[in-house]
């Protein structure tokens, strides 16, 4: 198989684009897809300060790498969840990338350790407060990324959600007819109210396989193992189903998600609608001042409960 562009030996075939690329042309393709995503969704400019949420996985480290190589001002935040050796390994991968690659671009890595603040790792914390681990993890990550973005005056927060993540999430929401969540499935969410950072997903045009290939080809050392907390999750099942469909009919995932985005864009101007909705229901948490619909936000409630049961 030869590269569609330069006719040398290809290293990856992309059936959904009816193309194959060598390493150089594939890197060009990936960078071009991210540039198109950023420009078409008005995610950020070269002058903006970006905070990338990194986990040690391929998507977030690839995102940090791509943004830096495209000339964006991108720092990163890693949240150490305290999941035994999994967190130790992912933390080491992030630190290695920060020192070997990001530092030469003048980028900074921020760190938040759950155990330091809560007195326990995520698994123990979830058990103590009787909540599912993934839900506890989600609350903590969203809160800390938003907190650091606001406190350190970043213009935008970027996550490594890819086409597979978004297609699987859309499938889950459609299967359960959770229409109220569809508004927030776009790749660019505005800073709707004071205290909320703008959130963007610059990888939504790239599949999980393409991002893994980018990481392998560019020698990005990422954690290949699954998060032990995610085993058997619904999202993994949706991804598996979509990948079977994709193998039989290349382009299925992009038709599903991009088609959804196109339909959404023809509706009301999403940013205005979302801002209006948020303004009508959100106000500062009485404990930490981050926006919430309740008197005290879910993160502060969770930490308050943890402090009553975790020995300090």
């Amino acid at each position: 198989m030869n590269c569609t562009k330069c006719k040398t030996k290809a290293v990856i075939g992309l059936p959904r684009h009816n193309a194959a690329f060598c390493k150089g042309c594939f890197n060009g393709f990936v960078h071009d897809q991210v540039t198109r995503a950023i420009k078409s969704e008005k995610m950020c400019g070269k002058e903006d300060r970006i905070l990338v949420a990194v986990s040690g996985g391929k998507d977030s480290l690839a995102l940090w790498d791509i943004l830096l190589k495209l000339g964006y001002r991108a720092d990163a935040l890693y949240v150490n969840l305290g999941i035994g050796t999994y967190s130790e390994q992912s933390h080491a991968k992030v630190t290695k990338f920060a020192e070997a690659v990001a530092a030469s671009h003048g980028a900074t890595l921020h760190l938040h350790t759950v155990e330091q603040e809560a007195g326990a790792g995520i698994k123990e914390l979830a058990q103590l407060i009787h909540r599912p681990t993934c839900s506890t993890c989600g609350t903590i990550k969203r809160y800390q990324f938003n907190r650091v973005a606001i406190e350190q005056h970043y213009d935008v927060m970027a996550t490594g959600h890819n086409l597979d993540d978004e297609a699987a999430r859309l499938l889950g929401n459609v299967l359960h007819w959770q229409e109220e969540y569809l508004d927030k499935q776009g790749p660019s969410l505005p800073a709707s109210v004071e205290g909320f950072a703008k959130k963007v997903k610059p990888l939504y045009r790239l599949s999980e396989r393409e991002l893994a290939a980018y990481a392998v080809l560019n020698r990005i050392d990422y954690i290949v193992e699954e998060c032990p907390m995610a085993k058997g999750s619904k999202m993994l099942q949706y991804k598996e189903v979509l990948n079977r469909l994709e193998t039989e009919s290349p382009g299925t995932k992009q038709m599903f998600y991009w088609g959804f985005l196109e339909k959404q864009s023809k509706k009301q101007p999403t940013a205005t609608t979302m801002t209006e909705k948020d303004l009508s229901v959100l106000h500062p948490c009485t404990s930490c001042s981050q926006p919430t619909t309740a008197v005290v936000c879910s993160y502060c409630k969770m930490m308050a409960r943890a402090k009553t049961v975790v020995p300090r």
């Binding site: 290293v11 391929k58 609350t139 969203r142 959770q178 396989r209 392998v216 193992e225 990948n243 079977r244």
Partner: protein, 84 residues
């Protein structure tokens, strides 16, 4: 050829020569969810693999992490969970 697999980590012996796509089919693995690495190099589905080759079949679906946490959090009633 020696083929290294993940989730769980293990090594299996597969008789060559055969193409990458034939190897994946034999292992009952979906192309869209895997990369095949020969030595240090990524290879396409039509690449021929031989008995002397060291092969890694790497799954590309990691974690379920980010999408999972959002979806699970959002499956609750839209109270304060959507705001933090």
């Amino acid at each position: 050829m020696q083929v290294q697999l993940s989730h769980p980590a293990r090594t299996v012996e597969v008789k060559g020569p055969k193409k990458v796509k034939e190897l994946l089919r034999e292992l009952n693995l979906v192309v869209e969810a895997h990369l095949v690495i020969k030595g240090d190099d990524l290879v396409t589905e039509d690449e021929m693999l031989y008995d002397v080759d060291q092969i890694e079949v790497r799954p590309v679906i990691s974690g379920g992490n980010q999408a999972e946490v959002e979806a699970k959090a959002e499956q609750k009633p839209p109270t304060d969970s959507s705001s933090t």
